[in-house]
């Protein structure tokens, strides 16, 4: 019997620690979607996937436009469909109200499912006019529910070619049964001309095959908006 030969591939290159993982093309502005299912008691990871987010939707571009032109929610608003399927007059300028004119706020607290990253069970392919989760998974510990943690951020950073920031949320399954997550979205909060906080979808992704989250385990979702030179 011949002894096994152990060799090395001289062409392998070391990936610098600071290298940002992306599959975006040169010149593209997009996002990576990272999904990880893990057991908080043991730390064991049962699912780990990183994919290109496919679907900035209409409201993202409309809100970006409102910000670019510094629209007034009252005088020259941008009409944008919220998650309740109602058109709202939106703009970052809201007269006379300190701290009021936010239009991209995704920093939701624990248990708040109306903005930040949210998940659902719908699996219909995204279209640009999507404005809400197809079938939302509610916050809670009842059957079919997940516990929404607070949204956290990773500050903007860059390597030689890629800039990014990270938005993260955990979804703990204490429902007593397994739940399969098929869709992931990023919602933001914005103020309209009332003024009142309204909610808008920025991104929607459908996960082929879904992500099974067993009872007692946690799904961690990262959205990493990126731009590649």
């Amino acid at each position: 019997m011949q002894p096994a030969k152990i060799g090395s591939n001289q062409n392998l290159k070391t990936i610098p620690k600071t290298k940002i993982h992306t599959v975006l093309e040169e010149g593209e502005f997009g996002a990576m979607l990272d999904l990880k299912v893990w057991n908080p008691k043991t730390g064991d990871i049962s699912f780990d996937k990183s994919m290109k987010s496919e679907s900035y939707v209409q409201q993202f571009m409309q809100l970006l436009y409102a910000q670019f032109v510094l629209a007034s929610a009252v005088d020259d608003p941008v009409s944008i469909r919220d998650t309740g399927n109602t058109l709202r007059n939106v703009g970052p300028v809201v007269y006379g109200l300190a701290n009021a004119g936010f239009i991209f706020d995704v920093l939701a607290g624990a248990g708040v499912a109306t903005y930040g990253i949210a998940v659902g069970t719908g699996n219909t392919a995204p279209v640009i006019t999507n404005y809400v989760l197809e079938t939302p998974i509610a916050h809670g510990v009842g059957a079919g529910q997940l516990q929404y943690s607070a949204v956290t951020f990773g500050a903007p950073s860059a390597d030689a070619t890629t800039s990014q920031l990270t938005i993260t949320r955990n979804f703990a399954n204490g429902s007593g049964g397994a739940i399969t997550v098929n869709e992931v979205v990023l919602y933001c909060r914005a103020v309209d001309d009332v003024p009142a906080a309204r909610y808008f979808m920025l991104i929607r992704d459908v996960i082929a095959g879904g992500v099974a989250v067993p009872n007692g385990q946690t799904l961690t979702v990262n959205y990493r908006p990126q731009a590649v030179i």
Partner: protein
């Protein structure tokens, strides 16, 4: 999302005499810095970042920070009444402003051809607004409301530059500068996008039209 940069040159009679479109490759780290403030309103904080003059600036995380990325600009030379503050409830018309001039934000052009990098703080050499040698007249930066036809959405940013300098000028770089606020009464500009053009020679009296077309596709 992809972005395309179109450079279109017209003679003094308005006739198009040159046009080229190339992929824009260069949304920079500062776009994410300014957006980060908006995404985590009143909470996200940043270490100081360099403005277009290379000066480190700590950005306001509330109130005036809401004006970050407002790139629609007045023509060159004009102070901008659009840059307003928000928390001054005693002055509901919000006429206070950091008064950036039109050429300090919006689409900008320059003469340096160094390749773009994510951490670019500014154009290599910005062409100044004016009619003197090596200067060009900056129009206002226009932004057209997005249009959608599934699976695409498109938004266009456009600015005209007129060469009345008396000589030719070669535009080697384009970019977008965006204002962000340091405090209620102080703003500065930051480079959120930069591209090299391959060189477009603009003769005296010619007009250069620079268009960024931003497109999302589901």
């Amino acid at each position: 999302m992809k972005t395309y940069l179109t450079l279109r040159k017209r003679n003094k009679n308005g006739l198009i005499i040159f046009e080229k479109t190339q992929p824009s490759r260069s949304w920079t780290l500062h776009f994410f810095h300014l957006w980060y403030i908006l995404l985590g309103f009143n909470s996200n904080t940043l270490a100081a970042i360099n403005d277009i003059n290379g000066a480190p600036k700590a950005l306001d995380t509330a109130d005036s920070g809401l004006a970050n990325l407002s790139v629609r600009s007045n023509p060159g030379g004009q102070l901008s009444p659009e840059l307003k503050t928000f928390a001054d409830t005693a002055n509901p018309n919000f006429t206070r402003s950091p008064y950036l001039r039109g050429e300090d934000f919006g689409i900008v052009i320059g003469t340096d051809n160094t390749a773009a990098a994510p951490d670019d703080d500014a154009l290599g050499v910005q062409i100044a607004h004016g009619e003197a040698a090596t200067q060009m007249l900056y129009g206002g930066t226009e932004i057209f409301e997005p249009v959608f036809a599934n699976p695409n959405g498109t938004m266009v940013l456009r600015r005209y530059f007129t060469n009345e300098s008396g000589g030719g000028i070669t535009v080697e770089e384009c970019g977008i500068y965006a204002p962000a606020y340091i405090s209620l009464a102080t703003g500065s500009s930051f480079c959120i996008c930069r591209d090299v053009t391959g060189g477009v020679a603009v003769a005296d009296t010619e007009i250069l039209e620079v268009t960024y077309t931003v497109q999302i596709t589901v």
